[in-house]
């Protein structure tokens, strides 16, 4: 069996004696007999490292790894620079915990401060937290930031990623918050509906919309902001951090809070996690932001120092009155995002965004040439778009699967949500179009 207990049997016995116990059983005599587990755990016997790794390798081999992926919907296959993996596997970052002791955690604290700054730069907002679990939980936890005695209802666009919507719904079930979906028209938020429902509800606290939205379309966020603010509510904008390199910042567009999933910034798709939530807001709302925040200060010798700050917002001090129960952040993922952004730089970030957009538009053009029709497309899109699929989504996906290609996400039997990024090759895009053609 495997073990990571260093002390030998003799050492353990010596320690037991020195601590005043005859045996392990004697030590555990403080546990009442009636609850003691008096049989071995029904688990297999432990393995050596070599055997355990073999089991995991065999399990990994049962998963199909596609050579090209045209599926996004919240998880995006981007290129991950080698330096990102190298930095984030450093044992100091990997094996530390939340930087409670600032004097021996300056490395982590500074890296979070740098992450917060990069998020602010990307979003144009004033303040970012040290990260949240993922984009969906960040969206859900933006709602209580907007709720007060007079504003109790949350509104959300129907163009939202359904998984994000589901998480928001679950959090609202918890907090007994009314969550209302605003209609869509042709792949975009229905502004008339938004105007109407907000005008009828003086308790509206906030409106959540994504741009690019679930269908990949860019929303008219400026118009939305005007409506939302006109109704005395806050605007929460869901973003894609890569798209943010080329589209107007949430701040410019009038958002009060920007949230999103940071996975595209250097994290593998990895069957859904770990990813990282981005959460940024204005100075006015800073003290309502949940999660860790790192601040700059000085030590007694005047040296620059970083600390966890504004802690009185948090659960360990405010307990049931805290703005959230979140305790940790997703620090290693935030670090991943920072190293990714540092290695891309401003030009590289723009290039990833432009190439993703270019590949997606090329894919759209080729699919249309092959006979598919783009759907839900009132405006411009970033790197995802929707088409019909007259040959049946299942048949098309099966044909692509045979070629080692993961096609777009079937939204129903005859509708597909496609995605492309900089990693998709021109030849693979043409292959997808040919496959469509062969099934027409």
């Amino acid at each position: 069996m495997g073990s990571f207990v260093p002390n030998t049997k003799e050492e353990r016995e010596q320690m037991l004696r020195e601590a005043g116990y005859e045996s392990f059983d004697d030590m555990f005599s403080v546990i009442p007999e009636e609850v003691r587990l008096r049989k071995p755990l029904d688990l297999p016997s432990g393995l050596s490292e070599m055997e355990a790794l073999k089991v995991m390798e065999d399990l990994a081999a049962c998963n199909k790894v596609y050579r090209e992926i045209f599926r996004g919907a919240g998880s995006y296959d981007h290129y991950i620079p080698a330096i990102v993996k190298s930095v984030t596997s450093k044992e100091e970052f990997l094996t530390a915990y939340t930087p409670y002791q600032a004097e021996i955690s300056q490395g982590i604290l500074q890296s979070i401060f740098e992450f917060q700054t990069m998020v602010c730069e990307l979003t144009g907002m004033d303040v970012s937290n040290a990260s949240h679990y993922d984009g969906a939980t960040a969206a859900a936890e933006s709602i209580p930031m907007c709720i007060d005695r007079k504003h109790k209802a949350a509104y959300v666009s129907a163009t939202t990623d359904p998984k994000v919507l589901e998480v928001m719904g679950t959090y609202c079930f918890g907090s007994n918050t009314r969550l209302v979906t605003v209609g869509e028209a042709d792949g975009l938020t229905d502004l008339e509906d938004l105007k109407k429902v907000l005008a009828e509800d003086p308790e509206a606290a906030c409106f959540y919309v994504e741009s690019p939205n679930y269908y990949g379309n860019l929303e008219d966020v400026e118009a939305i902001a005007e409506i939302v603010h006109g109704a005395g509510a806050k605007l929460v904008l869901g973003i894609d951090p890569i798209a943010q390199a080329v589209i107007k910042t949430p701040r410019e567009l009038g958002a009060d809070i920007a949230v999103g999933d940071g996975q595209p910034l250097g994290m593998p798709i990895a069957f859904g996690g770990p990813y990282v939530g981005i959460m940024a807001t204005t100075t006015d709302m800073m003290r309502k932001l949940p999660g860790r925040i790192v601040g700059e200060t000085k030590d007694h010798d005047g040296r620059r120092a970083y600390v966890l700050t504004l802690q009185a917002r948090e659960q360990h001090i405010r307990r049931e009155k805290a703005s959230s129960n979140i305790c940790s952040n997703q620090d290693l993922c935030a670090l991943t995002a920072s190293v990714y952004m540092a290695s891309m730089g401003p030009d590289g970030m723009k290039e990833v965004a432009e190439q993703s957009m270019a590949k997606a538009h090329f894919l759209r053009d080729e699919l249309v040439k092959a006979g598919l029709t783009q759907k839900n497309c009132a405006g411009e899109f970033f790197n995802e778009f929707v088409t019909d699929c007259p040959m049946g989504a299942e048949a098309l996906m099966a044909a692509l699967d045979e070629k080692g290609i993961l096609g777009g996400l079937p939204l129903d039997a005859e509708t597909v949500l496609w995605c492309a990024t900089e990693v998709n090759s021109r030849s693979a895009i043409l292959e997808v179009a040919d496959t469509v053609r062969s099934l027409m």
């Binding site: 003290r287 802690q311 009185a312 001090i317 405010r318 009155k321």
Partner: protein, 123 residues
């Protein structure tokens, strides 16, 4: 104008027209340590005697400030929002709120009574 005190360490200054000004005592600010933020109500809010109407934060703690009166907040001391250190520096100048339309007063202590009470607390 008369200054009164509470056993929860607020001071209260009676003004004209059934109004009062509320802050926290020197003993309170010493106990709380260096304050870093204060959460104040908004003008127009109703506050209730015996309930918290504000809280103050130090680096590692947060403490409720209780109201000795029921009434309506007329004005808040916005200066404290940017400079909570004023509470530490001059607690009797650093008022939190002015309250009017007072409908209920709790029993309060005079300065001598409060000083005796604090001595007992320390002991």
């Amino acid at each position: 104008m008369a200054l009164f005190f509470t056993k929860t360490h607020e001071w209260l200054l009676e003004g004209d027209d059934n109004t009062v000004t509320i802050g926290i005592t020197n003993f309170a600010q010493e106990e709380l340590g260096q304050l870093v933020f204060v959460n104040l109500p908004e003008a127009g809010d109703e506050i209730t005697a015996g309930d918290a109407f504000a809280d103050v934060e130090s680096v590692k703690a947060v403490s409720d400030i209780m109201s000795p009166v029921s009434g309506t907040v007329l004005e808040i001391n916005e200066e404290l929002l940017d400079a909570p250190e004023l509470i530490n520096d001059a607690p009797y100048d650093a008022w939190f709120v002015k309250v009017g339309e007072i409908t209920y007063h709790e029993d309060m202590l005079s300065e001598d009574e409060y000083n005796t009470f604090v001595e007992e607390e320390k002991a």
